[in-house]
């Protein structure tokens, strides 16, 4: 999430209209997972969420499918028979294939995570995870590279964020925010229309790779909401039950 991978993701760059394709079931996802029972339910969940899913049960099979097929995203387990997840990424990248890869792992330490991301994985998720978390992260990876990463202004409806001046206005009215609230808002606005989980916010805004027990994020979001949406007929920050938050216009 913190690594700009957009420039070398040319081979599998998601089209901006991927959501439309998702609805038609034409976003292709490759799942490489040796735990067949877990895979069965994962495939079911992903299909019901609108993905076209192919499943490979070991590393070698996974790699050959990844090389043959046209996938928008690859979700792979870290530990696999024959060839592990990181090995698959290495070989794909060596052939110039930049399809975004999400690594799943039962290893949970921060160092494992760092190693996973270093070896070319685009995101890393520790098992067990909520399906909502996986979907949100897949969505984030698919969207990456589509957004204007270099723009200096973010705009969602009448909410505007001047990134250079670090100034936020809502319907032309200036909104006072702390530097951390600005960071939080920027994170949400850059992913406007996309579900962002609490874990993603902790990682992206606070650089914390563990889940505190408190309802920290909810309190921070509710403060931000106070500042952004108070007195407005069109709230922009919405809670997605069981997943997280999304910033989007209601229309």
């Amino acid at each position: 999430m913190r690594r700009g991978h957009a420039q070398d993701a040319s081979a599998g760059t998601p089209t901006p209209d991927w959501q439309v394709r998702l609805l038609c079931g034409s976003v292709q996802l490759l799942l490489i997972e040796d735990d067949t029972e877990a895979a069965r339910f994962l495939v079911k969940g992903l299909r019901e969420s609108g993905f076209g899913v192919e499943h490979a049960a070991d590393g070698r099979d996974g790699l050959s499918r990844a090389l043959e097929g046209q996938f928008d995203i690859i979700v792979t387990d870290r530990m696999l028979p024959h060839l592990d997840g990181l090995g698959i990424i290495e070989r794909l990248r060596a052939r110039g294939i930049g399809t975004p890869v999400l690594v799943l792992s039962a290893l949970g330490s921060v160092d494992d995570r760092v190693r996973g991301l270093k070896s070319g994985g685009d995101d890393y998720l520790t098992k067990p995870f909520a399906l909502a978390e996986l979907l949100a992260r897949i969505e984030a990876l698919l969207r990456r590279g589509a957004g204007g990463a270099h723009s200096t202004r973010l705009k969602v409806e009448d909410l505007e964020f001047d990134l250079l001046a670090r100034r936020v206005t809502r319907a032309g009215q200036e909104v006072e925010l702390t530097s951390r609230e600005l960071k939080l808002l920027e994170f949400l606005m850059r992913r406007a229309g996309q579900v962002v989980t609490r874990t993603m916010l902790l990682e992206g805004v606070w650089d914390l790779h563990f889940d505190p027990q408190s309802n920290l994020i909810d309190v921070h979001i509710s403060r931000l909401r106070q500042a952004i949406d108070r007195g407005s007929d069109h709230p922009l920050i919405h809670t997605v039950r069981g997943s997280g938050y999304v910033l989007r216009s209601d229309a």
């Binding site: 877990a38 330490s109 098992k127 067990p128 909502a132 790779h209 920290l216 921070h220």
Partner: protein
Amino acid sequence: MRAELFKTSAFRLSAGYTLLVTLAVAVTLGSAYLLTESLISDEVDLIIDTELQSLEARYARSGVPGVTEEINSLIDSWGRIGAVYMLTDANFERIAGNVTHWPFDGMPVERWPEFEIATIEPGRRAVHPVRAAVRTLPGGDLLLVGTDISQGRRFAEKFRVATLSGIGLSTLAAALTGFWFSFRLSRRVGEVTRTCQRILAGEPGRRLPVAGSNDEFDALAASVNRVLDRLEEQAGTLRATFDSTAHDLRAPLHRLRTRMDTLLLHSPPLEPAVRESIEAALRELDRLQRTLATLLQIALAESGTPLASPAAVDVGELAVELVELFEPVAAEKGLRLACRQEPHASVQGNRQLLAQLLTNLIENALKYVPTGGRVEVAVRKLTDGVRLVVSDNGPGIAAENRSRAGQPFVRFSAPAGEESSGLGLSLVAAIARLHRGRLELASNEPGLRVVVDLPA
């Protein structure tokens, strides 16, 4: 290194050893010198005494002429070398002998008076010290018998120089040996200490160096290495068991989770009651998962691996960030959460784990301190590290329970509605240990004061 060497017990030992050697050598050589010197002068004195007696006997037999004759014959004959004789009248006027004039001012008071005579030797003028004895003969004449003691003096001088340099050299040798000995000793002990520290700091594979000289250090190192091998083996077995258990637990948890998540996606949508129970079960699953994750983290921290690649972490900055993160939650509970920190309070460590440590301490405080209370996080620089203090004015922990607080699954009555895994402080303790730090719980009078000292 130099200053440290003087503080070592090896150095103190060798300094004492040097002193002892110096004393022993000084006593031995000094008494040999004194003994030899007195032996030489005793012999001279004996000769002088004997000659005086024989001259006195001659005087008794044949008076002044007899003694004169005797003296002259003694001088002329090849008698002993460096012999000095003189016979004078009561007014110190010379009658006979090989000394030109009376060498003393009147009658000498010492039993063995000494004087110097000048002699002409080929090419140079020399001054010879003479040791003598004087007797008053019955007729009032004075008889002086002496011996040139320059030989003895020279010998004694040489002996003294030899003695002193002997003492000096042996002191030097002892000091050098001692220094070398203490240097070697402190170097080898230092190696052991450094290796142990590195093992503690997360390099469990490291072993004590064995020099191959088969000395007691090698024996010690070999034994310690065997202990370390055994410990590592056990830790490895434990970790493998733990890892596979954790993995075995995670896989079914993962399947369960995915299965239930997929259930929620069911179309047509589930009945609200069914949906609610699934969500409740998922929340329980969340708790289970968190406990498992914490256990895994404790195990990982205890294994020392996360510090394999430490980086500088500004604890003060981290405290500010986390206090800012938790401040809204504290405010919502009616608590005051404040931070006090000194700049550049950095340690070498793992940022995520140190953040977890602080998070657990702050969460604990927020959990136990009742509304209206305050929690303070303070970061202070120590001479060789950083002190992190999280203090509150809540109920605290009774003194008799404090030592147990860091043990897994020990929990003290959590306020209603708060879940407690009983692992929070265990993880704090494990992370502190991993950073070679120290965790201490104390009373904040009233409240709890948790102090974590981290070396830089």
